[in-house]
Symmetry: C2
Amino acid sequence: MGKTLVYPKQVSNTVNRLKDRATYDLGAIHSIINSSHVLHVSFNPAPSDPFPAILPMIGQMGSFDYPSASIDEPLDCYLHGYVSSRIMNLARASEGEGLPICVAASKMDGLILSLTPHNHSYNYRSAILHGYAKLVTDEAEKLWAMELITNSVLPDRWRNSRIPPDRVEMSSTVILKVRVVDGSGKIRDGGVHDDQKDADNAEVTERVWTGVVPVYETFGEPIPSPTNKVKEVPEYVGSYVAKMNDQNREYATSAVEEEH
Amino acid sequence: MGKTLVYPKQVSNTVNRLKDRATYDLGAIHSIINSSHVLHVSFNPAPSDPFPAILPMIGQMGSFDYPSASIDEPLDCYLHGYVSSRIMNLARASEGEGLPICVAASKMDGLILSLTPHNHSYNYRSAILHGYAKLVTDEAEKLWAMELITNSVLPDRWRNSRIPPDRVEMSSTVILKVRVVDGSGKIRDGGVHDDQKDADNAEVTERVWTGVVPVYETFGEPIPSPTNKVKEVPEYVGSYVAKMNDQNREYATSAVEEEH
């Protein structure tokens, strides 16, 4: 049996509320990050600004030094951005370890409709990482990360598009590498939970429908652009759309049964 | 013609990148927040902690003082949480205006598959708000916000569940009210954009399929809980599921055509 790697519990990442839903497993946390189209990245723009900022970004976990590392091993978080964006300027100017940031991803899996508003909930998966962000300056690592991130939009898309990026494309793109310090995840699955006093109250149970509405992401039929010259939707596009639609629906539906 | 209310442009909320996709309209920003199941809320846990924190939360825009205010008028952001969670403790202890936070919401509408990785993109809608969070202490306002938030999970659910909340439920729930200081939104719709040099390159255009894969959220068939006693799925549940499925698919598909 393999060993499950977990992030160290620290004040910053310890889940205090509903601890039984918490996970510190690298594999679970990295999977939520990697399967999310959009990551929410938080940073502090300036000492004079009281508000943290949040930026929606595209990113992916991976290891340039150990490319064969699997999802449950230590990985870095690579984030894609534009050369002159504020977070990139801050990371460029940051000294020492880099810019302290928080990366978050959340996936909705269902509406939990209980007898009382108080017991309403969602089935969901969420993950956060804390880490220090620095710009990737090594050209080979940058190119590797661009391929990793493009293929997270659609598997195998990189080699099926016009590569390599030219000089202008390389210089206008910036990749942030986040050295992860800690992380945590939270997963809620299962069905409705009601308090006994409500479950025993016939007036309530005869009137209030309880259950779960599964929620999942769907990919529609690919729509060719007016300038597209390739007659058929390629297999790697069509099969991914079909696979994800099955997988997403299946997860949200079976999560209702899989109480942890 | 009505006047469109916009948030003031400040350093903290001004969109620097791809300005033509930016919006400061209250209506557009509030709509993105209100139609998102999960909001990402960022705050600074402690002066000694270098990392901002992000918490996934449920919330909704509204006005207790002017309940008839429409979506494009000044509104507060109400967030739902547990009494002893870290953000609630910080907001409770905060002095003066309240705890400075950032609220973010993002919705994915499609994968934009262009000739080059560099021109790949998403159709999406995202919004952020900056504001000061304080606990709602007035009982009437708290109850009003709990109804607002429950009905954002599923319209009309509040009065179709066991209400009012009892004393224990009221005291274990905390509602944060965020006085919004500024906000901004970003909307990307339309199709593929390629550079002329790639569009003119037959080797590339004959090989690379370009187009959009619409992405949207789907609600599955409601699954009654084993303890449910109500025979039929109620109309307000079924009609909402059907309406949202049509609306979400329609938005993601028509967004491809609606270049702004």
